[in-house]
């Protein structure tokens, strides 16, 4: 009997998608089958809109052990070890229920890492909110931070870094992107494969309840006024359960009994079972009556679509079931055989002896629809890019501007958030939150792993292609400033409704820019996550293609931080100052404008600067390094002073607008300091390497002093900034706590 069209439409399937299902099955699907197709073909699970663009990203490289398509990417760090990492969004749930939304975001990404057999060693969060003068934004910000803190601290994985940006476009639709990094011996790597016909399939971990049903579908729609009614689609996390699951899974993986393992994340039992079968080219047969549950009367439909947290699906060697169960029993966890691997490629679900669904596994994954949606250049671009920035008056008081920038929540210290995170548990955190990148040691070696997340959504709004390329370049620059060689990328693509041609155009542009930068900087993409429909009341968030990047520190003795180190050290700026300040935080804070194009990016120059800095950190010549980003050179210098607890005396030649010089956000610039007796050597090396540079001045005193000289213009030069480091620090540290009061 055919279903009422209302049924599949409410589940998010179009009529033509329904027709495709009928064609694949050669019959009308039943209710359970439609539900399964609806979640697997949702944007969230199928990437049906973004897949054509994603395919253009570079994914191969000498260090890549696992690219896109698995639960997480894997990159070689030598000595038979590897780093497993991935970023994922939990935007929609966090906008409705910030604590649980963010908490389960952490829980989900942790499982993606330990399902590969790796022990998670760090979490980073890339967060976007509206401005904090709005009480609901403060509620979201506090709730998200508390959720990350509540889950991450309890499970005992340190939250070591990330970023927080504030802009109006995120007011109703905050973004919560969570990245996890794990460490593994390459011989222990496990994949999500349901291989070996006749091997038993086990459900382990928490019992299944009715929470989160159709969460993946919910994440594939715009957030509406009625979204609060969707609270049941938000899952509830139990970090204690996850800690037990983590330890039990890693213990069982060590035994060698596990053939394949996958987290039950979005679309729960449905996605884990059909993806594992599809990857292995097998089928799965499961009796849903055997699935441990915490509520009575659950239907097959509910069991398949539940997104109850802290569960895993395992395929183990036949005959080892009892030994596997013993390990889970030690951790007081369920581990129940619910079915077996078959050779017919069919996902066959039963309730006792009654078959309730039969679907070819690949129909749910590889045969999901792909849409080449129309694109169109957004009308606003011409207006913002052609805004006459040169007509703006220059400020009279540069001290005041710098203090305003240091108080802007986009630049101010994020200590309010990260002091709520346990960033030290695990005894690996060598560079703690607040520097350009976090660095964790690898115990028993001299190596360190550096990690960062980056994306300036405003840049991507003003110029999607260059903005996305800058996100990659800046992430790499952050790693280089810590003394690490950038290795690979994971990305989290947050956009609005792709059915709007302007949004689709922006997605393509961002991916093009990202691909170009990843190729140039030799940092392939190993996977990630796409979050679309980030819209409320028809307004999309700023395009936010967040980049997560990991790098390798070869020798922990050569880790570098941003703070100035010693009186008498000499400060240099590497890279070029350009007369540009479009898209800058200065423009927003001082003029209230988000206009112009974003800064330009020359990837050749970027690479040259980065290679030089990495080389000279490793040689020991460079004592401090800090990327120039939001707030420009003046803010970068202020941060070097604050972190180092010491002042600096800077003099520069002014060749264009003073505000662009101090606060413009030209890319590919790094502020470094070296010992006074190494200046000659440094300059020789800079010239040899063809790196543009400017000698800025000296470290010392209690204040940041910034003078300009203006050749050919008597009286144009003079002192622009003279601020005590202590004053700057108080403002920079106090800004967010003050807004949260």
């Amino acid at each position: 009997m055919a279903l009422d069209p209302q049924v599949w439409r409410e589940m998010g399937l179009t009529d033509s998608e329904y027709d495709k299902i009928v064609e694949i099955l050669g019959r009308q699907p039943n209710y359970v089958e439609v539900g399964i197709f609806a979640v697997m073909w949702s944007e969230h699970c199928s990437y049906k809109t973004s897949r054509p663009a994603l395919k253009t990203l570079p994914t191969d490289g000498p260090a890549i052990l696992q690219g896109p398509g698995e639960n997480a990417g894997i990159v070689d760090i030598g000595d038979g070890q590897a780093v497993v990492f991935k970023i994922e969004s939990h935007n929609h749930p966090s906008a409705i229920e910030p604590y649980q939304g963010a908490a389960t975001g952490v829980g989900g990404i942790l499982r993606d890492i330990f399902t590969m057999g790796a022990r998670p060693i760090a979490v980073l969060d890339s967060l976007r909110f509206g401005y904090l003068d709005n009480p609901r934004v403060r509620y979201l910000f506090d709730g998200v931070v508390a959720g990350i803190s509540g889950y991450g601290n309890c499970i005992g994985v340190p939250t070591v870094g990330g970023e927080v940006y504030f802009a109006d476009s995120y007011e109703d639709n905050c973004l919560v992107n969570v990245m996890c990094v794990g460490l593994i011996d390459q011989k222990d790597i496990k994949k999500g494969l349901a291989a070996g016909i006749g091997n038993p399939v086990m459900v382990v971990g928490a019992k299944t309840g009715r929470d989160g049903i159709h969460g993946a579908t919910f994440a594939s729609e715009e957030l509406s006024e009625e979204a609060a009614e969707r609270r049941p689609a938000v899952q509830v996390g139990d970090p204690f359960m996850e800690k037990l699951l983590l330890e039990a899974c890693l213990e069982v993986i060590k035994t060698g009994y596990v053939v394949g393992i996958q987290d039950m994340g979005a679309a729960g039992l449905t996605s884990s079972s059909c993806e594992m079968a599809s990857r292995a080219g097998t089928g799965l047969e499961m009796d849903l009556a055997l699935v441990p549950r915490r509520e009575e009367g659950m239907t097959p439909y509910e069991l398949m679509l539940s997104e109850s947290q802290e569960r895993m699906l395992l395929v183990v060697e036949k005959g080892t079931e009892e030994k596997v169960q013993e390990i889970f029993a030690k951790w007081d966890l369920d581990a129940v055989v619910v079915g077996q691997v078959t050779g017919d490629g069919i996902l066959r679900l039963k309730e006792g002896s009654r078959v309730v669904a039969e679907i070819p596994a690949k129909a749910l994954t590889e045969e999901a629809p792909v849409y080449h949606r129309p694109t169109q250049v957004p009308a606003y671009l011409e207006e913002v890019q052609n805004f006459p920035l040169d007509s703006l008056n220059m400020p009279q008081d540069y001290n005041e501007v710098l203090m305003k920038l240091l108080a802007s929540p986009n630049i101010a210290s994020k200590e309010y958030a990260y002091k709520q995170y346990d960033y030290m548990v695990g005894l690996n955190t060598v560079v703690t939150p607040g520097s350009d990148a976090a660095v964790l040691r690898v115990k028993g070696t001299r190596k360190g792993i550096a990690m960062t997340t980056d994306c300036n959504g405003r840049y991507c709004y003003l110029n999607p292609k260059t903005g996305a390329a800058i996100a990659v370049a800046e992430a790499a620059r952050n790693l280089v400033c810590s003394g690490a060689k950038p290795l690979a990328v994971t990305n989290c693509l947050n956009f609005g409704n792709p059915e709007k041609p302007e949004v689709m155009w922006t997605i393509w542009q961002c991916i093009e820019g990202m691909a170009e930068a990843c190729r140039a900087l030799e940092t392939p993409v190993t996977g990630g996550n796409v979050s679309l429909y980030n819209e409320t009341k028809g307004n999309a968030v700023y395009p936010t293609p967040t980049i997560g990047m990991v790098g390798l520190v070869e020798d922990l003795d050569k880790v570098c931080t941003q703070g100035f180190k010693q009186e008498g050290d000499v400060v240099f700026l590497l890279g070029e100052n350009l007369p540009e300040f479009g898209g800058s935080e200065y423009l927003k804070v001082y003029f209230g404008l988000e206009k112009g194009s974003c800064p330009s990016l020359n990837l050749e120059l970027e690479k040259t600067v980065q290679q030089f800095v990495l080389g000279e950190i490793r040689s020991g010549l460079i004592k401090s390094a800090h990327d120039c980003s939001e707030g420009g050179l003046a803010v970068a210098l202020a941060e070097c002073c604050i972190s180092g607890g010491i002042g600096a005396d800077i003099t520069m030649v002014r060749r264009f607008r003073g505000d662009a010089l101090l606060f413009g956000e030209s890319q590919s610039r790094i502020v470094i300091s070296v010992a006074g007796n190494n200046v000659v050597e440094l300059v020789k090396k800079l010239v040899d390497a063809g790196v543009p540079y400017t000698q800025l001045g000296n470290v010392g005193g209690d204040s940041l002093i910034f003078n300009v000289v203006n050749p050919g213009c008597t009286g144009c030069g003079g002192n622009l900034v003279n601020l005590p480091v202590k004053t700057m620090e108080e403002t920079w540290r106090g800004a967010i706590p003050c807004l949260m009061k």
């Binding site: 508390a146 803190s149 509540g150 601290n153 309890c154 499970i155 005992g156 139990d238 970090p239 204690f240 359960m241 800690k243 037990l244 951790w331 007081d332 990260y418 002091k419 709520q420 995170y421 346990d422 960033y423 030290m424 548990v425 695990g426 005894l427 955190t429 060598v430 040691r441 115990k443 922990l556």
Partner: protein, 233 residues
Amino acid sequence: MKFGVVVFPGSNCDADCLHAIQTVTGQPAEYIWHKSGSVDGFDCIVLPGGFSYGDYLRCGAVARFSPVMTPVIEFAQRGGLVMGICNGFQVLTEAGLLPGALHRNKNLQFLCHDTYLRVENNTTPYTCLAAEGQVIKVPIAHGEGNYFADPETLRQLEENKQVLFRYCDPQGEITPAANPNGSLNNIAGICNQQGNVLGMMPHPERCAEAVLGNTDGQLIFQSLLDFWQRRCG
């Protein structure tokens, strides 16, 4: 000297404690599973930080009923060295081995940052290498470290010199501003009347290696070893 680190379900500083003890003291250290019925053969028992049993109900309230706590309590009552860090401190108060309780932090938020501690009594097994009034920098990471006791208990603690560590500023001054969580009398760590049971909220295991940028925590582990080998205390 053989150390045992108890592993409750939800402990997450167990591996850190084991690592720090082995690194600093060079002595053997092993895990003790919470279902174990004996602590025989160990000379010092460490209850590590974390969220035992998810800290559900109340921090440490469930862990105190773990099978291992029966022999741990007997061991402590016989004068054995028992050290609780963070969640371990909470378990020790719940188990009645130490007086008082740990409330939620005054600002109701989890807090992770360095604190300065003044060593208030350097005659115990845990502090015997410290100079009197020595200031050490040790990080905290907790949501419920706000030490509370009734006035009479507090008076006795002070009178018996059972307060071993107090939050202070870098110069060693005991000030309200240096108190991160609202603890009475800036208390960061106490011992029992006999001095063999220590509970402290800050994490010495997190600052015991140069690569992590701070080695002040070594003092406590090194004191324990020296005490055991009768070189101090």
